[in-house]
């Protein structure tokens, strides 16, 4: 793929994941603000996500979108802070994305499984 194609697709994916996140974050904000009323407990979190396919799916999609969006953003910041070689910037960003994906999906999975008892 040519450099122009890659950059354009990265830009597009960034905007698309942004749209997904716009919805997910709005939901997340409302959820947190409501949940924090009267104090937040682990039991409450587990009760929401545990064994609940809908919430787990929601957070799963949320994680994937964030794991795509954040590294592309960080890549741009890295490029502008210091003139580093392209390969290095791309590799670092990709690693960051993979790390987020693994940690995020792991957390969702854990919370989901806890609900099954």
């Amino acid at each position: 793929m040519s450099a122009e194609k890659l950059q354009t697709w990265l830009w597009l994916v960034q905007r698309i994941s942004a749209s997904v996140l716009a919805v997910a974050v709005a939901v997340h904000l409302v959820t947190i603000i409501a949940a924090v009323q009267g104090g937040l407990t682990a039991a409450e979190i587990i009760a929401r996500v545990g064994a609940n396919g809908a919430w787990a799916a929601f957070y799963g999609v949320f994680v994937v979108a964030a794991a795509v969006h954040a590294p592309i953003g960080m890549r741009t910041v890295l490029q502008e802070i210091k003139p580093l070689p392209n390969f290095f910037v791309n590799a670092l960003s990709a690693l960051f994305g993979i790390g987020l994906l693994i940690m995020g999906l792991d957390a969702v999975n854990i919370l989901y499984r806890l609900g099954s008892g």
């Binding site: 009323q37 104090g39 954040a70």
Partner: protein, 115 residues
């Protein structure tokens, strides 16, 4: 260095600055967030003890700050999406102010509810 000095104080520049800072802040926070949630695997007690620790006032203020960053990044981002995908409108600057206001509101709402 002094030769390259430039005064920048128009609203849309601040919108960019907030968007970038909040983005970097959130990106750095995400791994921490996922790690904490995964603490649940060590048993509900482990996650619960973290949550108790986090009920300290300074932590709550820091969390409100994070909420602000999230809301700011969201509203700033939606403004950018509109700017890039919809035909140009000259009341962009008003949108910047509105975004800022909404973000601040979200942070405040969190703080109020946390108590």
């Amino acid at each position: 260095m002094r030769l390259q000095y430039m005064r920048r104080d128009h609203p849309t520049w601040w919108a960019f600055a907030v968007h970038r800072l909040s983005g970097v802040g959130l990106a750095l926070f995400l791994p921490v967030h996922f790690y904490v949630l995964a603490l649940a695997i060590e048993g509900e007690v482990r996650l619960e003890s973290f949550l108790v620790w986090s009920s300290q006032p300074w932590v709550k203020v820091a969390e409100a700050g994070l909420i602000f960053l999230l809301a700011a990044h969201l509203t700033g981002g939606v403004r950018l999406l509109a700017l890039e995908f919809l035909p140009w409108r000259d009341w962009q600057k008003t949108l910047v102010a509105v975004s800022g206001g909404l973000s601040f509101g979200a942070g405040l709402l969190f703080l109020v509810n946390a108590y």
